[in-house]
């Protein structure tokens, strides 16, 4: 077990380093750079010579490998560098933006799980075939709608037509309602699809028949036996969905005018603000690695069959 743990942690570190290196190389290949974009603005009226001076002052032009080692060393000591565009340390912009996105993502994921559970249970519990079929079709619909379009429609309908939630200058919780909904809808789709498939699979297992034979009702079988077994495989895609959440956050934050990691990322790409992008990659890679590590390590604890297989 300890060996397995160490191996998994080692692999996670390798993935982190690889993500850092790959993104560093990718970002270095971009055509322009943040300094140029910021100071070439015609409003500033700087001459090419002045811009060249500024460039040199920012330390651009060092050999690639030394920039790489420099950046890596800084990251290991927790120094994320300075955002050229905003003129503030990257750590500060992260501190200002990360909590908002984490809240949005966490609530979005929670809402997605609830939505997925609701859809898959109802479709299994209902006696009406038509309702069962239309509920089963919902996830496909959810995943077919572009998130930004959904967001704009939600704003139009719920804020401007029905006037239920303001989008301009809303309260701290009001501001989350529509974005969380927009984010949760597409995320819930794969969850619901997996849940439905798992519920179907578990229902055919012998122990369900045994439980039914012992006189348990359909509801209680579903709750006591099927749900725990169906939820388990769902856990595994949580890690993969994290990336979806971040992409969703970029779009929802843009549509709803929220501050967060998403808008930060988008602006950083537009301005080719390397330090910010590098930090975003490292943070999301870390989150991805941690979630997957947690899922990997928790799974045997939750599912005795895998633990046995592991022991063998």
């Amino acid at each position: 077990m300890v060996r397995r743990l160490l191996a998994r942690i080692g692999q996670a570190l390798v993935v982190l380093l690889a993500a850092f290196t790959a993104s560093f190389l990718l970002l270095q290949a971009l055509p322009a750079d943040a300094i140029l974009i910021k100071f070439m603005n015609p409003d500033l009226g700087l001459s090419p010579e002045q811009i060249a001076e500024i460039h040199a002052a920012y330390g651009a032009g060092m050999p690639l490998w030394s920039q790489y080692l420099h950046a890596l060393g800084n990251f290991l000591t927790g120094d994320f560098g300075t955002s050229v565009q905003a003129g503030v340390p990257v750590r500060d912009s992260l501190a200002a933006n990360l909590p908002a996105t984490l809240t949005l993502a966490a609530l979005g994921f929670l809402a997605a799980v609830i939505l997925a559970l609701a859809v898959s249970f109802l479709s299994n519990l209902t006696g009406f075939v038509w309702l069962r079929n239309s509920l089963a079709a919902l996830p496909s619909l959810f995943v077919s709608v572009p998130v930004f379009w959904l967001g704009i429609l939600l704003i139009q309908v719920f804020s401007f037509q029905l006037k239920l939630v303001p989008v301009i200058d809303p309260g701290p919780w009001e501001r989350l309602i529509l974005p969380v909904a927009a984010l949760a809808v597409p995320i819930s789709a794969p969850l619901a699809q997996i849940l439905m498939r798992n519920i179907d699979a578990v229902l055919t297992q012998p122990f369900v028949a045994v439980a039914r034979a012992k006189g348990a009702s359909r509801h209680s079988v579903l709750w006591r036996h099927v749900v725990p077994n169906a939820l388990l495989p769902t856990l595994t895609i949580a890690g993969v969905l994290f990336g979806e959440l971040l992409a969703g956050a970029v779009v929802t934050e843009t549509v709803f005018g929220l501050n967060g990691l998403g808008t930060l990322t988008q602006q950083a790409v537009a301005n080719q603000d390397m330090a910010v992008l590098q930090a975003v990659v490292v943070i999301s890679a870390t989150a991805f690695v941690l979630i997957n590590l947690a899922v990997d390590l928790l799974y045997p604890l939750l599912d005795p069959r895998i633990a046995e297989a592991d022991a063998r």
Partner: protein
């Protein structure tokens, strides 16, 4: 804001709203009977919710040319002089009087007493001198650039606690007007001691204006509060004291549909950049639209003659003839966007009506292209020596419906056999390509300023360099330079006699169109839409909003 206030402001829940409807109708009926004058009494208090299309970039006052920057600076800074937006005359403000020597090489200003920056330091001769030394000469160490509004600046001299004189190396007749522009907003010396980088942080900009910035969420939201001790509004304004509003909440809302929807749903008081296609609906619902002219260089397409495809005057002339500005304005814009009749707007100083040079004529355009040796190829695109007559332009995001405008121009040019590709592009590639005449043979341009110098701002190689001349902003330019044009600009910037100066301004407009360096399309306004609750909305001479005299009928 408490929950109670919030629900009142946003109309509350459906039940309350239904109940309130009857009451509102009754009140409205009562209001109709009230004479207009009674309703015009300004109310003090309230926070104005202002939706801005783009986030500001930098609040170094000379960067105020960018609309979002100017919209913020105009609330927090005062200017030495005040340009009356109606007459365009220069009137006293922070300077109570001034003298100009005969050849416009020295200006002396007497500064009003008792004016302070919001940090308490006085607005005195030394502070004003520090401001213009920085704007006129720049500061290399702090990366602060020279203001495009100020020409031939030499030095300042503090003659007394409230008397300051500015000296110029050559005549600088535009300087008096330059002291009134958004780019000459007075800021505290400590603000000017900061490097350029840090001036993006709005909370660090200390001005003497009617509002101060109390909080900022970078790129998203700025909160202004009125200065209670403000007592030096422009003498021409209706009141000299504090602003009527308690505060302003500026929220960056890039989505067009959200800005419009929020305004109509009562979630915002005023929005900047309402697109022409939304005007009819907004006005029909009783929301007034203001579209002050920016009185500068018209929204235009500029050529980069260093690009061999457009180096030939006949090609540039042909493309000017192929462009039908009437169709563009009728299709995409409204009466707030008048067709261009010269390089600068009809409301701009020194304007000369050159509409005869801008009449579309596709037949003449084709003839000129034929003469220039460009033959129509099998795909309908003209060719010469195996090269296609194909140009590329990048969309300019701040200009209204620029992408659609360029596409329409592309359709018109296609009729005479010229291909125009419109690119969106990320800002990095755009920044690089815009400096390369081979990659961008044409570019959308526009700049607003109510002084003849504005043309120089747009085209002079040391300023915005719209034509990309050698020795200007780009190192990619091989040869193109127009000494005659630059000479005209130098002459305008240094001609102290007003009549002669305006004569030169007329000449430069003619020259730009005779050389077909630029195709003017329309006179660009800054379009705002406001809630009926908003009164006393004012704009400075080139269309930046001033909320000093603004008040809300129901704060």
């Amino acid at each position: 804001m408490t929950r109670d206030e919030a629900s009142r402001r946003w109309g509350g829940d459906a039940a309350t709203r239904r109940a309130a409807l009857g009451a509102v109708a009754a009140v409205l009926a009562a209001f109709v009977a009230v004479p207009a004058s009674a309703a015009e009494e300004p109310v003090t208090g309230g926070t104005l919710v202002y939706l801005e299309q783009q986030a500001h970039t930098n609040l170094y006052p000379p960067a105020g040319g960018f609309y979002p920057n100017g919209g913020i600076l105009n609330q927090i800074t005062d200017k030495l002089t005040y340009q009356n937006p109606k007459t365009l005359e220069i009137e006293p403000w922070i300077a109570k009087s001034w003298t100009v020597d005969a050849d416009a090489t020295a200006y002396t200003f007497e500064i009003r007493e008792g004016v302070t920056f919001s940090d308490g330091t006085p607005v005195d001769a030394a502070a004003v001198a520090k401001n213009f030394d920085t704007f006129g000469l720049g500061n290399k160490d702090l990366k602060l650039p020279v203001s495009e509004a100020i020409n031939n600046y030499a030095r300042s001299a503090v003659l007394g606690p409230l008397t300051v004189r500015f000296h110029f190396t050559k005549p600088s007749p535009g300087f008096l007007q330059a002291t009134s522009v958004i780019g000459s907003g007075l800021v505290a010396p400590k603000t000017l001691a900061l490097p350029f980088d840090q001036l993006g942080d709005a909370t660090r900009i200390v001005g003497s204006g009617p509002f101060v910035i109390v909080r900022e969420t970078l790129g998203r939201e700025i909160q202004f509060a009125a200065r209670k001790d403000y007592a030096w509004g422009p003498p021409q304004s209706s009141h000299g004291g504090r602003a009527y509003l308690d505060g302003i909440k500026l929220i960056v809302t890039p989505e067009d549909s959200v800005r419009i929807g929020a305004l109509l749903a009562g979630q915002a008081h005023i929005i900047r950049q309402i697109q022409a296609y939304d005007e009819r609906e907004v006005e029909a619902k009783g929301f007034p639209i203001s579209a002050p002219s920016t009185r500068g260089v018209n929204n235009s397409i500029a050529f980069r003659p260093d690009n061999p495809l457009v180096a030939d005057l006949r090609v540039r002339r042909a493309l000017t003839l192929a462009t039908d500005t009437r169709e563009i304005v009728d299709t995409l814009y409204s009466e707030h966007y008048p067709r261009a009749t010269s390089v600068i707007a009809a409301t701009a100083t020194g304007y000369r009506d050159l509409s005869a040079k801008l009449a579309p004529d596709a037949v003449a355009a084709r003839r000129l292209l034929d003469e220039a040796g460009w033959r129509v190829g099998p795909d309908g695109i003209r060719r010469k020596d195996g090269r296609e007559l194909a140009l590329t332009a990048y969309e300019s995001l701040p200009q209204p419906q620029n992408k659609d405008m360029l596409q329409l121009v592309a359709q018109q040019w296609a009729k005479v056999g010229v291909k125009l590709s419109v690119l969106a592009g990320d800002s990095g590639s755009r920044t690089l390509d815009m400096l390369d005449p081979l990659k961008t043979g044409v570019a959308p341009v526009m700049v607003g300023r109510a002084d003849p110098d504005v043309i120089k701002s747009q085209f002079y190689p040391k300023n915005r360099d719209a034509l990309l001349q050698k020795g200007g902003s780009s190192t990619k330019v091989q040869a193109f330079v127009d000494e005659r044009l630059n000479g005209l600009f130098d002459a305008i910037a240094g001609e102290p006699d007003r009549a002669k100066r305006l004569q030169l301004v007329g000449e430069v407009q003619e020259y730009l169109l005779d050389q077909a360096y630029v195709i003017p399309i329309f006179e660009e306004p800054q379009a705002f839409a406001a809630s009926p609750l908003v009164k006393g909305l004012a704009f400075e001479a080139v269309g930046r909003p001033s909320f000093y005299g603004t008040w809300l009928t129901r704060p």
